[in-house]
C-alpha cells in the first residue's frame, strides 16, 4: 500500500501543519520509503501477544486530585507570543 498526495494533504491537515505542494511531493516519497520499512513488522504473527505500551508494565500511577504547586501567572505568560491582561491572545474564534 502506498500513500497518495491526497493522503499527505489529509495527514498534514490533521496534524495542523501547512504544507506546500512541492513539500507534499517530496514528503510523499520519503513517507512511502518509511512505510515500506515499517511493513516488515506488519507480517509478524502476534496473535495472543499483549501490546506493550510501556517498558515496566502495569497501570500508570495517578496522583491525588488536589491542588499542588502552581506556576506564577506572570512566569507562565512570559513566553507567550501574544498576551493581554493576564490572558493568552488568539484570533477571534466565535463571531
Amino acid at each position: 500500500m502506498a500513500l497518495t498526495l491526497d493522503d499527505v494533504a489529509r495527514i498534514a491537515h490533521l496534524a495542523r501543519i501547512e504544507i506546500t505542494d512541492a513539500e507534499a511531493r517530496r514528503t510523499l516519497s520519503q513517507l512511502n520509503d518509511i512505510f515500506a520499512l515499517i511493513a516488515k513488522m506488519q507480517a509478524v504473527d502476534t496473535s495472543g501477544v499483549e501490546p506493550m505500551a510501556h517498558p515496566l508494565g502495569g497501570a500508570q500511577r495517578l496522583r491525588a486530585d488536589e491542588a499542588s504547586e502552581t506556576i506564577d501567572r506572570d512566569a507562565a505568560l512570559r513566553n507567550a507570543p501574544a498576551q493581554q491582561d493576564g490572558l493568552f491572545l488568539v484570533p477571534k474564534v466565535i463571531e
Binding site: 490533521l14 501547512e18 513517507l31
Partner: protein, 486 residues
Amino acid sequence: MTTHLASLAELARQLQRKQVSAVELAQAYLARIVAHRDLNAFLDIRPEVTLAQARAADARIAAGNATPLTGVPIAHKDIFVTKDFASTASSRMLEGYMSPFDATVVQNLGNAGMVTLGKLNCDEFAMGSSNENSAYGNVLNPWDKGAVPGGSSGGSSAVVAARIAPVATATDTGGSIREPAAFTGVTGTKPTYGRPSRWGMIAFASSLDTAGLMTNSAEDAALVLGPMVGFDPKDSTSVDRPGEDFTRDLGKPVKGLRIGVPKEFFGAGLQPDVEAAVRAALEEYRRLGATLVDISLPSAELGIPVYYVVAPAECSSNLSRFDGVRYGHRAKSYGDLNDMIAKSRAEGLGAEPKRRILIGTYVLSHGYYDAYYIQAQKVRRLIADEFRRAFEQCDLIAGPVTTSVAFGFGEKAADPVAMYMSDLYTIPGSLAGIPSMSIPCGFGAKGRPVGLQLMANYFEEAKMLGAAHQYQLATDWHARIPEGFR
C-alpha cells in the same frame, strides 16, 4: 592549566581537598568552551550564571556541607528545560524560550552542587542520528571535523570527547546517547527507562525517552548517576525505588561473568573495522575471565520498523503542544485560529520533526491504529521478551553500537531510511527499556572511534558499569584525547 585532563573523579577529589576552587574550574572550562566554539556544541552559555553557581559551590565546600560532586562542572543537553538558560530543543519553535522551572534531572544535579556550564546542541527535539537536524547548525566531531558527532546528543558527546566539559547530560530514545558516544569515543550511559525523571525533559516519545550521561569513563558515570536519578512524583512513569550506590560493583572482577553475544548483531551491514574492534574487546573480556555465551535475539531486526511506528505516534501527540498560543513561534500573518496554528507549526518545526509528526498522525488515525500502533506494541513485547529470556543465560549482553564509524556530513541527510538504520543495534534495548551503554573500544576507518555496547537486565546498571570499569582498567581507549584538545 591542565584541569581538563583530570577525570571527573579526580576533579571531585581536588575540590574536596580545596586544591582547586569551583570558580577556578568554571573559569577554566568556560575558557575552553570559547576557545573551541568552532565545534558549535553550545547553544547558550551565561558565564555570570555559571560563576554564581560556582561561588555558591565554593561557599558550600567551605561550610562543610558539600556533596562529592559539589563544584564539578556539567553541561546539559538542550532537551532539559532550565530556568537560567534558554531551552530550545534545538528548534526554531522554541528560540529564546525561558522555562519557568528546571527539569528534575537538572534540579537534582544542581542540588548536589554541580555547576552548569551551559546548554548543548542536539538534533531538533532529539530526533536524529547525526546532529544535522539542529536548527542551529551542525556540531563537529572532535576526532575528525569532517565527521558527524552522532545524534541526537551530538553536543553532549562532542564536549566530553573534547574535554570541554567533564560530564554532560544526554537523552536516549532509540540510541541518542550510545550512538554519539560511539562516534566520539566517550562513555555514554542510558539507565533503565523510568529511573531518571522525565519531568522537564522536552518530550519526544514518552514510553522511550530516558535521560543519561556522557562521561570519559564508567567510573565517572557511576558517580553522577546516583544523584541524577530517583523517584519523582511529577513523572507518572517514574520508578519508585530506593536510592542506589552505582559505584558498588566498580571494584568487582569480571571473572565468571557471562557475557551474551547476540549473533544478530554481527550480521550483514556490520562494517569489518567495527567488527574487528568489537571482537577484540570481547576477547579482552574473555582474557579477564568472563565467559562469552552465544545468544540469539531473532526479533531484534524488527526494532527499527517497530520504533518508527511507536516513536512517531508518541511524537505526534507530544508535539501537538506547539501551537503558537502559550509559548513558541507564532507566524507573523495568518487568518483564523486553525490557520495560525498550521502556519506557526510549518514555520517553527524542521523537516524531521514534521516527517515524524506526519507518520505518527497517520498510524494513529482512524482505521490504521490497530494495523500499525497496536501491532507495533505487540512486536515490541516480543523483542522485550527475547531480552528477558536471554538474561536467563547471561549477565550482560555485548555487541557493536553502530554498523560503522561516524559518517561524513551530508552522507545520509537526504535519505531518512538510511539515517534511521544508524540505530539498528541500539533500538532493541530502547524498546525493551533496559539499561545500556557505549564504551570506547578502538578506532576504525579514518581513525574514527568505535564503541562497544553493553546491555544489562532491568535495574542492573551497577553490574553494567562495573564490567565497563574493569575493561577500562585493562585498556586505555577511554583515555585517548583527540588531537588539538589535549
